[in-house]
Symmetry: C2
Subunit: 137 residues, 2 copies
Amino acid sequence: MNTNKNYIFRETRQRKRMMEILSSTKSHPTADWVYSQLKEDFPSLSLSTVYRNLRILKKQKRILELPFGHTFDRYDGNPAPHPHFACQKCKRVFDIDISGLENIFQNATRETNFKLEGFNLNLYGLCNDCKNDHASS
Amino acid sequence: MNTNKNYIFRETRQRKRMMEILSSTKSHPTADWVYSQLKEDFPSLSLSTVYRNLRILKKQKRILELPFGHTFDRYDGNPAPHPHFACQKCKRVFDIDISGLENIFQNATRETNFKLEGFNLNLYGLCNDCKNDHASS
DNA sequence: ATAGGTGCAAATGTTTTGCTGTCAA
DNA sequence: TTGACAGCAAAACATTTGCACCTAT
């Protein structure tokens, strides 16, 4: 991918459909899942096309990449940084709302003198569905 | 690695030295860096031994794994969860202190009903040294 | 027409696994 | 003595790259 600022992105059929898929789900899909979805419309689709476009959409700030290092990156149709909760049992990832987070960050940056450009905050544990379910595992 | 709870860990020379290395640095090293350090004492050391022991030390809760998905996992000799700041320029990772974070998490778990077991919070931006340095890059 | 994009195959970089011999308890 | 562990090589896994052809603009 070109890193030139004046690079002109094209809206190919694949990329257009891909953005639709990403926007229409809250499931924080993996690259592989996006691939399998997109493959339905483009049978000859290549995985590298998916990765290439994920990077481009991220660069365009149309999507957000969530680094969950333990497994692999996941992507979010919503480009605004926000905290997530990952259930360790069912593996789902939820958007959560933590009020007052901005103030806390402001305090932190004031104390450290760092220039804060973003964050990623991932909580983990057991979700509502799983925390009372002692049946499996 | 055995997942049996009654698994008896041995304190091999390699693992002992590795824990010393991890405890005595604040640099949030990569697996590869640990390998290169440990290799000085064990010339025939294998990378898989490092990974195996990182996983074991993590399982023993003697170290903490920091998932920085964009690059690769990093490890910390301090097992208590705490926020980090990653400088996008010099690539260093700092421990930071954000007061009031616990309260915020308590609010979040009360609202969501999730069972919170941990978190990882990584801020990123420019550190003190880099934010005023427009010379390079 | 041109330059960005696609599909394919091969490469990359990190982490894991199978196996055989070894050493800590 | 015995079973957890070391070292080695190969595999696994997500992701990236080189290249020739294709297509959006």
